[in-house]
Symmetry: C2
Subunit: 247 residues, 2 copies
DNA sequence: CGAATAGTGTCTCTCAGACATTATATG
DNA sequence: CATATAATGTCTGAGAGACACTATTCG
């Protein structure tokens, strides 16, 4: 990143053995959503350390790809899903966070659009599972079978990473279009579906009228002229995301 | 960070040559402040690429230190200054951002408390200089000698990194105590000095009465009972930072 | 018409921004 | 008492939260 004198310093202070550079990995936080409830996909560890504990998907960065590319690749390799949006979260670099070796890890927040979740078979994904985020502080996850996972039972420092991600998402909910990434289709959605997406991000229920007013104050939500499937009785209007309001 | 299968994958996809792991560096953004004007310390490059251009200080991470520790060490080595606060900003990983080699760089926002700036001699610091942030978009820096540096003339992608840092600082101004890190002394300051710190962070002038009201609504600013040096005629009261208001 | 979901309107309180006023020190 | 800085007070408009009301569809 900088001067040659850094390179000089580098050559002086490093032994040219491979073990003198940290490995670089990416940790993936794959979030999705269903009727306002936030979900996260995790994988079960097959070997020590933390054997049988649930962990974030992830893997090592390759030499010719960026961290963003590594995150997208690992997400698909380990879960079979594609993200509608990824965002770098934080880099964890504490020596000793992995007891086996020196690993520096770049964490990525990934959002998977609502839809059928089919964790690909035949790969590591056979170990993957979707959890509902039931509580945020302390963290509490619930598996599809109903089992409750407390944050103390997650591998490594992954509970802390997840809490960091949740805080970041909440903070960005109204200032970025992050919640829209949870929508099945940005070109066609009802206000109720949009409200579900925001509720998943914010972690608390919204009041429909106030929600509508606030969203309309920030973003352009254009009517498509079409009408959605009646989940109840009155048929809801379908809208399209059209960017931020000019202020 | 994760499963042994990742390690297996690591062993499969990596050639055990040292060049197959990226080097890991830290980039430092050392900010300070004077009468509401934000300043940044940069170093002049002595060799290509970008010879003679101004760049952020930084250097390679050592194998037994965290990125935070590397940031603090490099700041002191290259500028002779100590930060009152550091905060990880973003990790830049694009292959090819450094034309010489594969370098992954973790950028750190560092805040140096207001006070005498003595860039240490005898080290790389002889090349360091303080710039005033005159404009933020596009970025424009002014050296002590009055020379104007446009963002296009900075080395590497450092202009983008600085703009990212400025946006982050502004965003955190009211939600964290980041502005207080610019104070010479958290235990004794006037409201005017505090306002200068916030003006440096926010990049625009504040109205004293409104500023006081807003600050008091968020933080506990306790009177010390002492009175500061009269910069003008009436003698200002001195205050102490006492944390966030319980809400 | 009753019930269930979709969508609109209204009231109040808080707070940011603009600006006016009072207080304290000095020559 | 004129002046310069420090500190407080007042007015207004925008927006968030709570909640009541209207609209559409079905049996």
């Amino acid at each position: 990143m900088k001067a040659e004198d850094d390179e000089k310093e580098f050559l002086e202070s490093y032994d040219p053995s491979i073990y003198d550079r940290p490995s670089v990995a990416v940790d993936i936080l794959p979030f999705t959503q269903e009727t306002g409830r936030l979900k996260i996909i995790m994988v079960k560890r097959g070997k020590p350390p933390f054997k049988d504990a649930w962990a974030l998907p992830g893997g090592f960065m390759r030499i010719n790809e960026s961290a963003d590319e590594a995150a997208m690749r690992e997400l698909e390799e380990e879960t079979g899903m594609k993200a509608s949006r990824i965002e770098q979260l934080y880099t964890f670099s504490d020596p000793g966070r992995d007891p086996r070796m020196r690993v520096l890890s770049v964490a990525y927040l990934c959002i998977i659009a609502e839809g059928p979740i089919s964790l690909a078979a035949g790969t590591d994904a056979s170990e993957a599972e979707v959890f509902t985020v039931a509580d945020r502080n302390p963290l509490e996850l619930i598996s599809t079978s109903g089992a409750v996972i407390h944050e103390d039972n997650l591998a490594f420092d992954h509970a802390e990473i997840i809490r960091t991600a949740l805080a970041r998402m909440e903070g960005k909910a109204w200032y970025t279009d992050i919640a829209f990434a949870f929508l099945r289709d940005r070109e066609s959605f009802t206000y109720k579906e949009l409200m579900y997406a925001f509720e998943a991000v914010l972690g608390k229920p919204q009041v429909p009228s106030n929600f509508r007013r606030k969203v309309n104050g920030i973003w352009r939500i254009e009517p498509t002229g079409k009408y959605g499937p009646q989940s109840g009785l009155r048929i809801p209007e379908l809208f399209r995301f059209a960017g931020r309001n000019e202020k």
